[in-house]
């Protein structure tokens, strides 16, 4: 049996969920025996295989048009999509911006900060993605497994991945279902 392929990416998050993933320490070796780790933000390969992967993992919420593209691409290329952490599951800390709106947030960050002089301006290069209303991943694409937590514990991540690697759908419950 070939090992299931796993790819991950991060969107509007803090990378903390991926740090928590690394926090499983030596169990990563155990995990790599079970799965084929493909593209991740912390490996050389940056995009999920065109031929597709078995499990896609997304950390972070959807806060701009680029996040949307990444999420859609991951969904297209994976069989099972895992929303990893509170930002991917709920919108998380970036979603606080929604209460004020992206325009107000950009103005505060680029013009009104105490250290900004009169030349402050909101970046407007056409190459840049556009900030949008922050949403959980499940608002853009279908999510199969929700693993909330800020960040989810290494134990919870290991449990979810090892279940998926062995062809079972993980049940996120008990201490692994922790919204913080």
């Amino acid at each position: 049996m070939t090992k299931p392929k796993v790819a991950s990416d991060w969107l509007a998050g803090c990378a903390g969920c991926h740090m928590s993933f690394l926090d499983m320490d030596e169990r990563i070796i155990e995990l790599t025996k079970l799965v084929d780790l493909r593209a991740t933000p912390i490996t050389d390969l940056k995009e999920p295989d065109k031929s597709g992967v078995d499990v896609g993992i997304l950390e972070g919420g959807i806060s701009n048009t680029y996040n949307e593209e990444v999420a859609i691409k991951m969904r297209e290329r994976c069989k099972i999509l895992v929303a990893l952490g509170d930002c991917a599951v709920f919108g998380g800390v970036p979603a606080m911006r929604n209460f004020a709106g992206a325009d107000a947030a950009l103005k505060r960050a680029y013009i009104e900060t105490e250290s900004t002089d009169d030349s402050g301006m909101i970046p407007n290069d056409p190459e840049l993605s556009t900030p949008i209303h922050v949403r959980p991943v499940s608002d853009v694409v279908k999510v199969d497994v929700f693993l909330p937590g800020c960040a989810p514990s290494a134990d919870a991540i290991f449990y979810v991945l090892s279940e998926l690697a062995q062809g079972r759908m993980p049940k996120v419950e008990g201490e692994f279902n922790n919204w913080h």
Partner: protein, 642 residues
């Protein structure tokens, strides 16, 4: 009794029980949010929906009465999906992001309900509509964004505290929690009792001092007794790493029903006076640190150098019975000191002890206040003193309890009642005379007596006219009518109460006032300067007359927890443990002996009053007995009706 079946299991409950009561009695559970065992059920959150066979729709179990032969199911696909849907709707309404809420991980009922339903995400995206945050109050913050509109706070404020400050404005999902007619909480009629914060199931009411200080499970919980007034409310002191984080009312308390007043809940946590850390002696006009041994030896030398009558000893009612007993034994019994007195001037406990010695036991427990058909409140402002007892009165005033209130200053305790009669003044003899006439139904020639007190005859007739037929009258006595000059009126009203079967509740000043009175203390209202003045202030305060007496004394010894004008003028200062740092007994106003448990460890160098007295007694070749308990219990039995 009613018999019904819950999830196939037969159960019998009392008539008037709800389906929820039956469900829990049968050993099952349905989640709740707006329901609280201390409050009248409201049925707003719908989380407790159950399936009742034959009923057209799911039924809210917290408000639907259990009926005979009902067949109830709590965990069907229908109820489970309803619960999930309700929670999804609640999460979608406002800002319920757990990761930046102060009330999380087991402390939040909403989060717990979601966990219990196995929710891992929100099926409905939140609306992100911002709501008003009111941070104008010094003790807590009201964040409408976290509110689930369960109105537990509103009901606690009204049903339990009788204050009705909190309420709602707007409708439906736009409802917002406000104070009064939407004024900032800090400028409202809020009395800062904080019971709303304790009743809030989410993070909508935020305790400023304990927010983000750890989850409930991170805190050490110690059941203890509040020492601020003599009610002795049962409370839970919550600490972390030997630091006081928060004080809550004890939910299991039948006495104070989880309620606390602002003094009990916030004063100890907000304490910011500077602690005395080491014994000090005055040398060349300056206080200098010395060792305990040197300090106590110096005090012992002074005691030996003076005639016993030249010693004046004063102690705070915030000290445990152990300290009061040892203090009295040491200074009064062994030394025959010129004055051994308790700080303060509330004579109620002393008057009760004196009267009981004459006429026998006459007092009833505080619970009499919770269920009465007329309340006669003489000489106490229950809005300022003994506030929790005041809550019991105020909430009944909302149901138009007949109330007659006499006090030298106007009190608002009865203001909700339309059957209230207020006398502002101090002529308690005339007040008791009027009450006697009404109690005996002898109301001829009343007009003159009433006019003398400035009372309107029509109103007086409305409130007191049926006093002689009243079934559950209660008479509350406080510090003004208990003054020595009013003793005759105090005696008369108690005798009248006995005649008409009214229950008498006497509210006995601060802290351990009752215990002190039974140990033979006088009040230090006539504190006199003396060649040697020993002031066991502890963590309490003392009045101006005590300060003046101390100032005029020659050798001043002050044992105190905090630096103050008293320690500033002392010749010897001894550091003292505070209430939460010591184990000790406490005699409540209704004569219940409670044990206060130590919640925090005192810093090295602090000693309790009994510890100091033990050493001082040793230096004088004395041994202090510890046999106060039997004497106190016997004396209580002679005053309070069992």
């Amino acid at each position: 009794m009613i018999q019904l079946t819950i999830n196939g299991q037969p159960v019998e409950v009392e008539t008037g029980s709800t389906i929820l009561d039956a469900v829990r009695k049968a050993g099952f559970n349905v989640p709740t949010l707006c329901y609280h065992p201390k409050l009248v059920s409201y049925g707003s959150c719908r989380l407790c929906l159950v399936e009742v066979e034959g009923a057209r729709t799911l039924q809210p179990s917290c408000v639907v009465p259990a009926g005979n032969n009902m067949v109830v199911h709590t965990d069907t696909d229908k109820t489970k999906s309803a619960r999930k849907f309700i929670l999804s709707m609640i999460f979608s309404e406002r800002n319920h992001f757990c990761m930046y809420c102060q009330d999380t991980d087991g402390d939040c009922d909403l989060q717990q309900a979601a966990y219990d339903e196995g929710m891992t995400h929100w099926p409905i995206t939140p609306a992100y509509k911002p709501f008003m945050v009111d941070a104008s109050h010094p003790d807590f913050i009201l964040d409408n964004n976290r509110c689930i509109l369960c109105r537990r706070c509103v009901r606690a404020c009204t049903e339990l505290v009788g204050n009705a400050t909190l309420g709602f404005e707007e409708r439906g999902s736009g409802s917002i929690l406000i104070a009064d007619n939407n004024v900032p909480l800090g400028e409202s009629t809020c009395i800062s009792c904080g019971n709303c914060v304790q009743f809030c199931p989410t993070g909508a009411l935020i305790d400023r001092r304990s927010a983000y200080q750890g989850r409930e499970t991170d805190l050490t919980h110690v059941n203890s007794v509040c020492m601020d007034c003599s009610l002795g409310c049962e409370r839970v002191v919550k600490t972390r790493d030997n630091r006081l984080v928060r004080i809550d009312g004890n939910l299991d308390s039948g006495f104070n029903e989880s309620l606390l007043c602002s003094d009990g809940r916030y004063k100890p946590v907000a304490e910011n006076r500077k602690r005395v850390t080491t014994p000090m002696v005055r040398r060349n006009g300056q206080l200098e640190p010395i060792s305990w041994d040197e300090a106590l030896s110096a005090i012992s030398v002074q005691f030996k150098a003076h005639d016993s009558s030249e010693i004046s000893a004063h102690i705070s009612p915030r000290q445990p019975v152990e300290a009061l007993s040892a203090f009295h034994e040491f200074f009064a019994d062994h030394f025959h000191a010129g004055q051994v007195a308790l700080l303060g001037h509330d004579q109620t406990a002393i008057a009760c002890a004196k009267l009981a010695a004459e006429i026998g036991a006459f007092e009833s427990g505080i619970s009499a206040l919770k269920d009465c058909d007329i309340a006669i409140v003489l000489g106490t402002d229950m809005v300022k003193d003994h506030q929790v007892a005041g809550f019991f009165m105020k909430r009944q005033a909302m149901h138009d309890l007949k109330m007659f209130i006499a006090n030298s200053t106007r009190t608002t305790v009865g203001d909700w009642s339309s059957n209230k009669l207020d006398y502002v003044g101090t002529d308690y003899t005339a007040v008791v005379d009027v009450l006697r006439s009404f109690a005996k139904g002898e109301t001829a020639n009343m007009t003159e007596k009433l006019q003398h007190l400035g009372l309107k005859p029509v109103r007086a007739e409305k409130v007191l006219g049926q006093l002689h037929e009243s079934q559950k009258p209660v008479i509350v006595l406080g510090k003004e009518i208990a003054r020595a000059e009013n003793y005759a009126a105090f005696r008369d009203i108690v005798l009248l109460a006995r005649e008409i079967g009214a229950k008498v509740v006497a509210l006995k000043g601060k802290g351990n006032n009752f215990g002190a009175a039974l140990l033979g203390y006088e009040m230090d209202a006539q504190a006199k300067s003396a060649p040697v003045f020993f002031l066991a202030l502890g963590d309490g305060h003392a009045c101006d007359h005590t300060r003046d007496a101390l100032a005029g004394s020659e050798f001043k010894i002050v044992q105190a927890s905090y630096a103050s004008e008293f320690t500033e003028m002392a010749d010897i200062v001894l550091p003292c443990t505070i209430w939460d740092e010591q184990v000790g007994h406490y005699l409540t106003s209704e004569g219940k002996l409670g044990l206060n448990q130590q919640a925090i460890q005192a810093a090295e160098g602090n000693k309790s009053v009994p510890e100091v007295l033990k050493v001082l007694a040793g230096k004088s070749g004395l041994t202090l007995s510890e046999t106060w308990r039997t004497a106190v219990e016997e004396k209580v039995a002679a005053i309070v009706l069992s």
